[in-house]
């Protein structure tokens, strides 16, 4: 089981809630949102694709044991976005993603309260039916809605009481957002993005905590002790960080942080929808919480919406 747990850091009061394997449910953190999402179980921060030994190319091994991931509704919605990118964009599927995805099942943690900075309700990700079982803790009891037949047998043998259970979900998130239906091309170069050129420090944390960010860069290395042996890896990439668009010869596409913010924001609440019919962002609020410059994604969506209205009404 792969779930959120608290781990202490060297500095005081800076505990991180991140995902890891557990063997007892008591170790799981079921109340607070994880700082980093579940996504490293499907797209590891750094993943070896191939090993190279002299003339041989070998696909890297992986841990094929089945995994159940405990996650909130917003994150289960995020899995649909990851699936879309890796297995539903273009003619070829991502083999490395598929083999990790194949062994994973998702269990829902019911939401008793909205997370800080969340706007899941307006993004429609506050509720889901896509889980093998749900888990809600109340009055010292654990309530589970089991939807998977194989697991049902396990739950029955554990000797629980049968009751009608439906997982909790929030109907009011911390923030409300309104998304624009259409974003005119003029908005891409609008001065509204200049604010982010001033504020953003392009650290890329928003991308790395985002459960729907899927970008990666492929890198080759060779072992310094033996240049004939090496590997090809892919590592999570950030569209906010320098180097994302660099090509041989020196061309860089988006130099200003405001342009990068525009690229990211429009992908999350417009461009992805134009391509696939639904928005990429699930409103979990992690990017707001992690931003060292206190940039609010929810605010940005609302500002964008207001600006689109201004621009289209003045035509």
């Amino acid at each position: 089981m792969f779930t959120r747990l608290k781990s202490s850091t060297k500095s005081s009061n800076t505990d991180v809630i991140r995902y890891d394997y557990i063997s007892r449910i008591e170790d799981a953190e079921l109340e607070e949102r994880s700082d980093y999402s579940f996504k490293e179980i499907l797209i590891p921060l750094s993943e070896t694709m191939f090993y190279f030994t002299e003339d041989e190319i070998k696909e890297a091994d992986y841990d094929a044991r089945p995994v159940i991931v405990l996650m909130r509704s917003c994150d289960i919605h995020a899995v649909k976005r990851l699936d879309q990118m890796y297995t539903g964009n273009g003619p070829a599927n991502d083999w490395f993603y598929e083999r990790l995805r194949d062994r994973v099942k998702f269990a829902l943690i019911g939401c008793g309260k909205a997370c800080p900075n969340s706007f899941c309700v307006d993004m429609g990700s506050n509720k889901t039916d896509e889980y093998v079982f749900s888990i809600d803790m109340a009055d010292g009891k654990v309530y589970c809605d089991v939807r998977d037949d194989e697991l049902m047998a396990a739950f029955e043998s554990a000797g629980g009481t049968k009751e009608d259970v439906s997982p909790r979900y929030v109907t009011e998130a911390e923030f409300r957002v309104e998304r624009p239906e259409e974003v005119p091309v003029e908005l891409f170069k609008d001065p509204m993005w200049d604010e982010y050129t001033r504020r953003c420090v392009n650290c890329g944390r928003c991308n790395f905590v985002c459960p729907t960010c899927t970008c990666f860069t492929i890198q080759d290395i060779f072992y310094t002790d033996n240049g004939r042996v090496g590997e090809r890896r892919r590592v999570n990439a950030s569209c906010m960080v320098d180097g994302y668009t660099d090509v041989a010869g020196g061309l860089v596409m988006r130099k200003k942080n405001g342009e990068r913010m525009r690229f990211k924001v429009l992908h999350k609440v417009y461009d992805f929808r134009k391509r696939f019919g639904y928005d990429m962002c699930v409103g979990c609020g992690r990017c707001d919480t992690v931003c060292p410059e206190y940039i609010s994604f929810a605010n940005c969506i609302n500002k964008l919406n207001a600006r689109v209205k201004e621009v289209t009404e003045n035509v």
């Binding site: 694709m49 191939f50 190279f52 190319i57 696909e59 094929a64 990118m85 890796y86 964009n89 273009g90 003619p91 070829a92 599927n93 991502d94 083999w95 490395f96 993603y97 598929e98 083999r99 194949d102 062994r103 091309v185 891409f188 170069k189 899927t214 970008c215 990666f216 860069t217 492929i218 890198q219 080759d220 290395i221 060779f222 240049g227 090496g230 590997e231 090809r232 892919r234 990439a237 569209c239 994302y244 668009t245 660099d246 090509v247 041989a248 010869g249 596409m253 988006r254 342009e259 690229f263 429009l266 992908h267 461009d271 992805f272 134009k274 391509r275």
Partner: protein
């Protein structure tokens, strides 16, 4: 174990048949390849322990593809320094949409290209040279200076079959060929029916921009213009995200785009 099908990331061995040196910096590598491929598509050249780079197809033969590259990056530098004909390398691809050569057959066509951008259109020109509409193909090929002219044998051959204008941006005194930017020659192209004329414009972004200004002045419709674009890419198959512009991925929706669509894409 997962039943995941083909791993598209796996590099496929390919023997290097030949290396054709155009200039010191630009060489064509002839890779063994048998299979479907169109002009304008691209391959990932894959060198284990060094990396991969996307390169457009500049020639197609019965058992090979030509990939023309300029030594400007990590992978290309390594290729130039370490390989000779007969060596084995790795490829994966072809990727991208490529040009549909039949689209340009049987009507008037303007082709404006600059430098290495001859690569993606070379297959289109070769195809059209053998059709009856060859004489209606008006091509302007621009290079930086006489020393940078590539595909010289092709240019000589094409000059006999199509209306070819070869120009260089600048040349030392005594150079006998045409001098000037490609845009200088657009107003003079003889076209009978501009409303039905098509165009292919491939080159550096500023060249495309200024060529389009001239072409639109002539009355050419933006719907009748195709361009080929390029971006940083890691995967080539619509996964890594680097080449996205708005809702399009250059690697799978392009690299060939209609200009009218491409102009709404903003990096």
């Amino acid at each position: 174990m997962c039943n995941c099908g083909k791993n598209e990331y796996t590099p496929v061995p390919s023997k290097l048949q030949d290396i054709i040196k155009h200039t010191a910096q630009e060489w064509t590598f002839r890779f063994t390849y048998v299979g479907d491929v169109k002009p304008g598509q691209f391959f990932q050249i894959s060198i284990p322990k060094v990396g991969e780079c996307p390169i457009s197809v500049s020639g197609i033969g019965p058992d090979y593809v030509d990939l023309t590259l300029r030594a400007v990056g990590k992978v290309t530098d390594y290729l130039f320094e370490n390989f000779k004909a007969g060596d084995s390398l790795f490829l994966r691809g072809p990727y991208g949409n490529g040009f549909d050569v039949h689209e340009f057959e049987g009507g008037e066509l303007i082709i404006v290209v600059g430098g290495t951008a001859v690569s993606p259109v070379r297959g289109v020109v070769q195809y059209l040279c053998e059709t009856e509409s060859a004489k209606d193909v008006h091509m302007i090929a621009g290079f930086k200076d006489p020393g940078e002219i590539m595909f010289k044998a092709d240019l000589k051959d094409w000059a006999e079959k199509i209306d070819l204008t070869l120009t260089v941006d600048g040349a030392p005194e005594g150079y006998e060929g045409k001098v000037g930017l490609v845009t200088k020659y657009i107003p003079d192209i003889p076209i009978r029916d501009i409303s039905r004329c098509k165009a292919i414009v491939v080159g550096p972004p500023p060249m495309i921009r200024f060529s389009m200004i001239e072409l639109v002045k002539r009355g050419l419709s933006e719907d009748n213009v195709w361009i080929s674009d390029s971006r940083r890419m890691s995967c080539g198959i619509g996964k890594c995200g680097h080449c996205r512009i708005n809702d399009k991925y250059v690697c799978i929706d392009g690299p060939v785009f209609k200009f009218s669509e491409h102009k709404t894409l903003i990096d």
